[in-house]
Point group: C2
Chain length 375, copies 2
């Protein structure tokens, strides 16, 4: 069974979810806390995991993860974790259960309030430990199973990114079979999330050629297989390749990300709209590609090559065409965002961690203009 | 300062060697055992390292590393390590001091005979621990600073590969300035070692797309910059890129290698000839590329793309042309090997660890023929 080991151990193969009991045993988890959401429960996917557990009575299921996980939900889940005397977290789902589960694993051992761990405020010094964490992705996009970060919508209205090597799952189980039933629109949105990770990571300013190589390989796989995965959800090759692109996206973004993510996070925190992170990335990506090009022109030919495009192809237009082909909205306005919200979003985009690694310096005025262009 | 962290932490930048005292302190090494060779001593490169140490009187220098390090030399160095009550190993040099230093670090803590740690004989179970190990490469080829393997010519005539995550240096310090004085022929031979690592790793049979991506990125950098580094040893950009290609080669070959290395190891163990490992790889590579093509045809277009070649270019011929351009021999015969030695080398190639991951099954008869073709 393919085993990757660049950030954390990743068991990657069809059927790998059957290895969960063995993994729990090795991590010495007797009372697992399974973090998931209603969608997973309704679709029957959760059952595919619980079916392989030896003793389900020892497991606690938390299925209340909201779309963009909130601090309130983290605290609710944490109370249940403690009440049931759990000793490890298993995240099952897309990015939201992963993020929420990581927050629970942190607070379960390190205690205190989530806000105190804000890495931009020196919070990493306070991380005492993290409960053993296993990640089983059911979408191919977030890559959170191989990433040391997680994002939570805080009660004070901010959307905070937490990042620490201790937040890496002890083991990721990537089973492309878990994504076979994913509906076309969710396949498209999460797939573009993976592709955005690969592109933004390659373009991010820090120097890290191995991460560039991984991002380009992920982009090569993702760009070739996303239309196939959307058109035929049972295309096993396309599902395998999209899940690999997703994992590679996360391995690549150890370098950092860029303005697409700053803007997506700023828009994603508007709770009433419940905007999907991957869809936001897809819709914002072309505008930021046009903005950044002058600062990293030497990297654009490599992106074109990885995507199998001609040397004179316009990257932004190609992404717009992809979005159209796979049924994603053409702009932020079509997602329900209006220009009046821009002034509210801009300071959040400026303060976002991803802004620091955007290849081109970017200020509030730029963000304002980019939001307008992306409408 | 760029910091890579895919296998072990790698401080990668011009001038990074100045960080050695800080690194020793963090690893709690008070009495470092510096492993190097006469060439490093004579060239004045060793001084560049000892000059930055706070208290040279606490350090022991072992400069007796032979070209292809032997078990005898390992034992000699180990005796000195113990006699001087050292508490950590710093390898300074090309692949040979790295390999020897890793063996000393293993035996210093785990004890016993080196042969008992043969991984193909279950030796990894016996590894109790390894002394803290720092690696400072002075060539751009082996990548040993970021690899969990080392190769020793055993007293019984075998050339054994040892591999264990514990053999990864605790920290690698990659300072391209250390390679500025490297003579053209050594630049060529070590550079082709790095390029062979990238190519063989990408072609190796295990499934590991992130490693493929890193290997292709290393190949892209190495192929573009090797002629430049050979032609002008002071070309800082070329030196930086070649050192990165070398590190990436090692990160890529976590997948495994192939028949080029099986054959190089088999030839390199003939002590009287003192054949350079990188030169052997360079000379053998075209023959193995022709042999393997039918088994991994889908990967050859990606190699061509990374090397900037036209889609119909013949990889083997391009490597032959590169070897000629940078002054490497055209075949094994030109290196002093004769056909009479083939029967002696073949069983060693068959038994080599790299044979298991060659993309095309390969037996004694094939190796015999490949040695003949590579003459």
């Amino acid at each position: 069974m393919p085993m990757l080991n660049f950030q954390n151990p990743v068991r990657f193969d069809f059927g790998s979810v059957k290895k969960l009991p063995e993994v729990l045993q090795r991590q010495n988890i007797q009372r697992p806390f399974l973090v998931t959401d209603h969608g997973l429960l309704d679709s029957g996917l959760l059952e595919r995991v619980t079916d392989v557990l030896n003793d389900l009575s020892q497991a606690t299921i938390y299925d209340g993860t909201p779309g963009n996980p909130t601090e309130e939900a983290v605290n609710e889940a944490l109370a249940s974790y403690h009440a049931e005397e759990c000793d490890g977290v298993v995240c099952i789902g897309g990015g939201s259960p992963m993020d929420l589960g990581k927050a629970v694993a942190l607070l379960a051992v390190s205690g205190g309030l989530l806000s105190q761990y804000d890495p931009l405020q020196g919070g990493n010094k306070l991380v005492k430990g993290v409960a053993p964490l296993i990640a089983i992705p059911t979408t191919a996009g977030t890559g959170s199973e191989a990433s040391l970060g997680f994002v939570i919508s805080m009660s004070d209205g901010r959307k905070l990114t937490f990042a620490n090597p201790k937040f890496l799952p002890k083991m990721a189980i990537c089973d492309p079979e878990m994504t076979l039933g994913l509906p076309p629109l969710l396949t498209a949105a999460t797939g573009m999330d993976a592709i955005t990770h690969c592109i933004e990571a390659v373009l991010a300013s820090p120097v890290n050629p191995p991460a560039d190589g991984i991002g380009l390989d992920g982009l090569w796989r993702g760009w070739q297989h996303l239309r196939r995965a959307v058109n035929d959800g049972n295309d096993r090759t396309a599902r395998w390749e999209m899940m690999m692109a997703s994992t590679e996206g996360a391995l690549a973004f150890v370098k950092g990300l860029g303005a697409v993510h700053s803007m997506s996070h700023a828009a994603g925190r508007i709770k009433e709209l419940r905007l999907h992170h991957g869809t936001l990335n897809a819709v914002i990506l072309p505008t930021v590609l046009r903005f950044n090009e002058s600062a990293c022109a030497s990297k654009y030919p490599r992106l074109r090559q990885a995507m199998g495009l001609s040397p004179d192809a316009d990257l932004a237009s190609e992404v717009e065409q992809m979005n159209a082909d796979i049924g994603l909205p053409s702009g932020l306005a079509a997602m329900g965002l209006s220009e009046e919200l821009i002034d509210d979003m801009v300071p959040h985009a400026v303060a976002d961690m991803a802004t620091m690694t955007n290849p081109k310096p970017i200020n509030a005025e730029d963000f304002s203009e980019l939001f307008r262009l992306a409408m």
